[in-house]
Each structure stands twice: as C-alpha cells, then as structure tokens.
Amino acid sequence: MTSAQENDSARSLTARQAGLVGCHSCGRVHPMGTPRCSRCGAELHSRMPGSLQKVWAWLFAGIVVYVPANIYPMLLTTSFGATTENTIIGGAVELMHYGSYGVALIVFVASVMIPVGKFLAIGYLALVVDPGSRLGGRLRHGQDLHGRQRLFEVVEFIGRWSMIDVFVVAILSALVQLDFAATINPGIAAVSFSLSVAFTMLAALSFDPRLIWDAEQDLN
C-alpha cells in the first residue's frame, strides 16, 4: 500500500517471470514447461489449474447447503416424550431469552458470522484475483495485496474452528441417549452445516494464493 512497498514489489522478480516453476510438494525449482517434478514426481503448475473455478464451485456448494443448515433443526431434543427442535438461529435466540448472552454470542459468531464471513471473504478474494471479472475490477481499487494475503490466511486458519457447533451436536447426540428421559439427536441441519463448513474449507484450499500477487505484475 505504501509506495515503498509497491516499488519493492515492482522491482522483485517472480519465479514465473524468471521462467521457473516450483514444485508444490517438495519445493524444487524447475524450468517452466517441465511437466513433472524430477525429484518427487508431482505435477508442476506455475498456477493451480482451474483454481478459481474450483473455488467458485466449492463456495457455491457451501452456500447451497448452508441454507438448509439454517432452516432445518440442528438438534432434536426428546424429553419425556416431548420433542423440541432447535435451529441454529432459534437456539441462539432461545439462549438469549434465557439470559445466556455470552453463549448466545458464541453460538451466533461460530455458526452464523464466521461461515457468512468466510463466504464473503472467499468470494471477495476470488473476484479480486480474477482479471477477467468486471465486478472484481470494480472492487480492485486499492491494490492492498498484503491485506488480501492476510485475509486469505485468516480464512484458511479459521476454517477448522467453524465446526464447533457440529462438535457440540455430535457429542450431545452420542452422550445424551437416556431413552425416555432425554434423547438428543442431530437434525438435518447438523449434516448440512458440517457439509457447508467442509465445502468452504475446500474452497479456501482450492484458492491459489499466488494469484493474489499476479495483480502486482499486472500493475506493472
């Protein structure tokens, strides 16, 4: 963002500019065009082929399954013959009604804010790094490439922690099987939610962060 950095990056030479390609698995550098790593045999790509397309596909799948995750009940609590169904939002609201604002906040953040933030973040990154996208071009005002990199790192890091809800449901359904007195079963939303998390993680995984830095070259 500062001019000094920009100058730095403008001056730096990328592997691609140098006609080289690094192996993904072992890191050995090969000349461009080499199909396979001479050391470990992995396929060599200067950029991951179809990366953005995969990101979009996974992201889309994640959003699709996130809808039933919120509509359908997450927990089926059967106590003395009476069954209660709780959706994610409904559970958070109920917790708030009972005065557990802290827990409600945790549930809300973990189950709503983080997934939605991830969708937005991945979508933003995928748009921004795609030079052919007009919408991406409009978003691309400030070329804060480091910020994008940091955003990507956060998304990738946080992905594994989005499963809190699913863990809770899984543990409760395994433990609370007291027959007539109380039984907790996972609802459809639990499956949907875990799929959604998995899909967004895959989306983040499919994203090739090198694309972020290609913009630097385009600037030049």
């Binding site: 179809g50 397309q53 995969k54 996974w58 699709v64 809808v67 013959g81 052919g132």
Partner: protein
Amino acid sequence: MSSDNPPPAAGQSSGQSSGPTPAQMRIDPPKRSFWRNLSLVWLVPILALIVSLGIAWQTYAERGVTVEISFLNASGVRPGETTIRYRDVVIGAVEDVRFTSDLARVLVTASIDRDLANTLPADAQFWVVQPEVSARGITGLSTVLSGVYIEASFTPQADGEARTFVGMDSAPLAREGQQGTRITLRTRDANRISEGAPILFHGIEVGHIEAPRLILSGDSVVFDAFIMAPHDRRLTTATRFWDTSGFTVSLGTGGLSLNVGNLAALVTGGIAFDTIFSGGAPLNSGYVFDLFPDENAARQSLFTGVGANAVEMAIEFEGSVNGLAVGSPVRFRGLRVGEVRAIGAVLVDEGRRQGVRLRTTVALDPQALGLPVEAGAERTIDFLRDAVAEGLRAQLATSSLFTAALVIELAELPEAAPATIEQREDGMIVLPSVISDLPDFTATAEGVLERINALPVEDLMNQAITLMASIEAVVSSEGTRQAPDAALALIEDIRALVGGEDTQALPGELRGGLAEVRGIVEELRLRGAVDRLVTVLDSADTIAANAAAASGEIPALVDELRALVARANGVEIEELARAATRLVDSTDRLIGSDEMRELPPALAAALAEVSQVLAALREGEAIENVNRTLASTRSAAESVAQAMESLPDLSQRLERLVAQADGLIAAYGARSDFNTEAMQVMREFRDTARAVTQLARAIERNPNSLLIGR
C-alpha cells in the same frame, strides 16, 4: 484463463538478448472450449443443490395441513409440544393455541400429516387425553410425564375436506369405526349410574353408557349407551335392561341371599340386559329402553308396548282404593295385562244427588290380552265388550298376603249382574267393576284367630288352682289337723282290736271291703283320666305335628314356643305342683301324726268332701271340660293347620296357643308332678278308707270297745 496460459515472458527476455528480431508471431494455444474447461468440482454444488432442493421438496410435500380444533378448555395443550395422535401414532402437532373472538372456546391450530388430513371427515372426533383414574382403571398414564396429547378418532374418507373441528370434552365411549348399536336408556333415578358404567350381558362387558342427563320435558333421566358389535345382535324390542349397581340383599324362603356384581359395577354402577321373551323385533339405533331397578322387575315386565298401542280405559270403584297406586298392575287370570295410569275422583249423577266415585285410568295392552300386535283400540274394546257380556268385571284384589297393595283383577264372574262397557261424555270408556270380596277373607282369618285366643284356657287353669287351694285349705284346716291325732288313736285302737283274737273272724268281710275299694279304684281307673289323657295327648300330638309342620321353616318361632312353654311351666305348672306338694305334705302330716286316734266328726265331713271332689273328678267334669277344650282346640288347630299353608304369618299366634295348650296338657299329663301326687293322695285315701272300714266293722261288732279302749 491467465493461469493456464504461460505468458510469453521467456520470448521477451530472449528477444532482449538477441537484438531486433522480426516480431514474434503471437501464438495462442488452442482455446479450449468452455465445457472442456469446466472443472468436475462443479458437480459438487450441483449435487448439493439437488439434494437441498430434494429435501425442501420433501419438506414441502410432507408439511402438515393446518386444521383448527376448538375445545372448551385446552388444559395442558402447548404449542409445538402437544402431539395429535391417531390410534396412538403421532400424526401431527399443535402449532398454536388461542381463543375464539368471544373467548368462549379455545382454538387449537394444529398441523396434521397431509395424507391423513385428506381423509378427515367433518365428524372426526378430537379430545385431549389426560391421565384419568377411575374405578374401571387408570388411563392415559403415559401423559403424566410426556404431557397431554390430542387423540383423533375418525373413519377415513376418500376426500376429506374438513379443516375445522369441534373438540370433545372427554373421550367418546365408542370410537369411530367401532361397530355396534347406540341405544337410549330411560330411568327415573340415575344416582347409582355414572358415566362409563359397563353394560353387562351375562356378566360379560359388552358396552358402556354415556353421561346421564335430565330430559328437558320431564323428570326422567336418559342416557345413551353403546353396545359393541357382535353383542348388539342380542338386542330386540323384547330386551330388558336393569340396574345391577351395588349389591342386593334379599331375605326369602331360601334364606339370606347376597348378590354382588363385578367390582366396577359396584363402584360406578352397571347395567345388565337380557332378552326376556322371544318374538322381539330387531331395532334401530336410538331405540329407547326403560331401565328397571332390578332383575326381577325387568323379568316381570312382560307388559310391553305401553305407550305404543296400549288402550286407555277407566274403571270406577265404589269402595276405598287405598293400596292402589299408579303403576299397579292390572291382571287377567293372573297375567299382567296393563297398569294403572291415574287415580282420581269423578262426580257421578245418581238420580237427584251427585255422588263421588273413584275412577282409575288403566292402560291395557292388547298384546298381553292375546290380541294380535296390530290390534288397535277398536279391536280391544270389542274384545272386552264381548268379555263383559260373559261376565268380565274389574275388581280389587290384594297382590299378596303380606302387603296392603292392591291390584286390579279382571275377574270372570258369570253370575254377576249384567253390565256393559259404557262410554262417558268425556270420551272415557268405563269397564264395569264389582265390589271386591277381599275384606271378608281377612275378617275370616282374623275371626279364627280371635276364637282361638278366646278359648278359656286361663279360666281352666285358675279353676284347677282354686281346686288345689281348696283341697289344701281343707287338709290344713284346724279341724283336720286335729283329726289325725284322733284318727291315729283310733287306728291304734283298731290295730289293737284287729290284733285281738275276736277280730280274727273279720278277714272275710275285710276282703269284701277291699274288693269294694278295689272296684272303686278300678272304676276310677277305667272311667278316669287315663283314656282321656291319652286322647288329650293324641290331640296334643296332632297340634304339635301341625305346629312342627308350620314352624319347620321358622326356627325362631320354636324358640319363642319354648319360651312360652317355659313361661307356662313357670307359672301354672309350678303353682299347681306347689299346691299339690303342699297338699301331699299336709296329708302326710295328717296321716303321720300320732293323734290319729282322736277321730273327730270333721273327718267324716272332710272325707265326704274329698269323696265329692273325687266323684266330681271321676264323673269327669273337669276332664270333660278339658276334653271339650282340647277338642275345640284340636278343631281349631286343624283349621289353623289348613290356614297355615296360606297364612304363615298367623303361625306365631298359633304357637302361642299351642304353648298354652301344651302347658295345660303338661299340667294334666301323665308325666307331671300333679298326676303322681294325685295318685299318691288317692292311694293314701284308699288306705285310710280301708282302715276306717276296719274300724267301723270292729265298732259294729264290739261297740263297747269305744268306751273301754279295746
């Protein structure tokens, strides 16, 4: 697209190094088609989309149909938790509970499975199942923990469009789809019957009743009852229902009988039914039956069709109708053919003055009279007109000997004064009546008893006691006391005289005298009490046998009889015995005293008196009296024995009589003290007489011995 195509960076760099070169041809790699470019990963979102849409569709397809059920109160119904069940399978859930606009009822909005909702008929029943503890068991126990649920009951219908229902306040007795017949029972008093009470057929529960309710127009209680399917075939118009609630205790000739129904019937009441007679017609749902208070009443209610084709007539009576009540039976040759509907008085013109007659309105059942079922009033009146011409008359009769209740008897009296069926101005058809002879019979029975009571048994006793007392008085009188001394002295003299040699000639005459005495005694024995006592005993036996026959069934009476006998023994017999004993004692003293020698002239008088008594006894005045009394007692007993069969309640009086008679007999009986004592007295008198005779002979022979002492 940029990622896959390596930019011509290498070429640029090489061009820089080798100076100007012809512009390198820009070679684009063959553009891969959009579809070739497409990653397989896209299958994932497509699949996810399909699955999500599938789930959404399934949810949409399975989503419940919203129905509204209104309840009077919705105790325990909670939105989201209360389920709706059909045959105990959850088919929906309550979504909302609110009030109707006028707050009169509770509207429960529920969603019900689409498949089932489309078969809901408009008359589907919904009720809230709650735990309930009753005499018939505990129901809905599971709802204690899980909360109430709403049970639905309906007969599935192909295109059920109903969406609003009226919920029931309690579970219906008969589930929809349960086969059976619904009938109505009518009774006057339902305080032993409660809702849900079982209906029993030979002890098997075949149905229930619903809550009793008062009918608006009258004072009777009706309730609907449901008889389950295979058993409702037993219902005909000839079926009678009766109340088996609680238990019955009856005291009859068979002893005490306690009749207890099943436990549920004991607590909640119960109803039993049976088809009393054959020939009943099959019936439709809603047929009204009368509920009889007990099985006997039901079985005796052969009177059918009251209200259907009964013919109302009037009967006017001149005497009192005390004992006749509304509902009293009308009998014809002992068969119930109708009942009394009303009793009232009417003014009747009798010549110049008006008289009051008692008019009884009766309903006669043509069927019971033997007329065909379809016979109407005309036919019945024709039939009765003919019968009246041949002597049919109405008269009052007692229904039983033990009660004062009267019944109307249609008696056939061919010799009755001619009469016809009259039609009064008020349209009432009047059946002729005759004055009942019933009161005479009662009078006769009472007369018999009065006569028995009036028998002079007490007088007899008193006379006997007086006789004894006078004997005692004679014996214990001062003159008599002195007599023994003189008599003893005399006897001493006589002994001396007899022991003397000049008295040796006496034995022949003495023998003659003894023979005479023996003859007297023999005669006394022949004519005396023995035979008559035997007769008395025989008749007493007869009485006792009759009494035993009569009292065989009533052991309590025997006790009373014993008490009475004891009383009789305690009073008359003891007094008699005491008197007799006193007499004998006095006689003993008289005879045992030393001063017998001084025989006063009073002895002769006393002996004469005694012999008079004995003569009187011998001539049988007293015994005749007794015999007469006993004979009349026996005839009375025989008539009582005849009456006994139909008059068990009179037996108590008879027992009293028998006790008195028995006491009397015992007083004169062979085993009684009196008898033996009297015999002893007689023996002593015989000895005395013998001694007196000897003395007389001796004096006759030797008069001076009186003076000289030898």
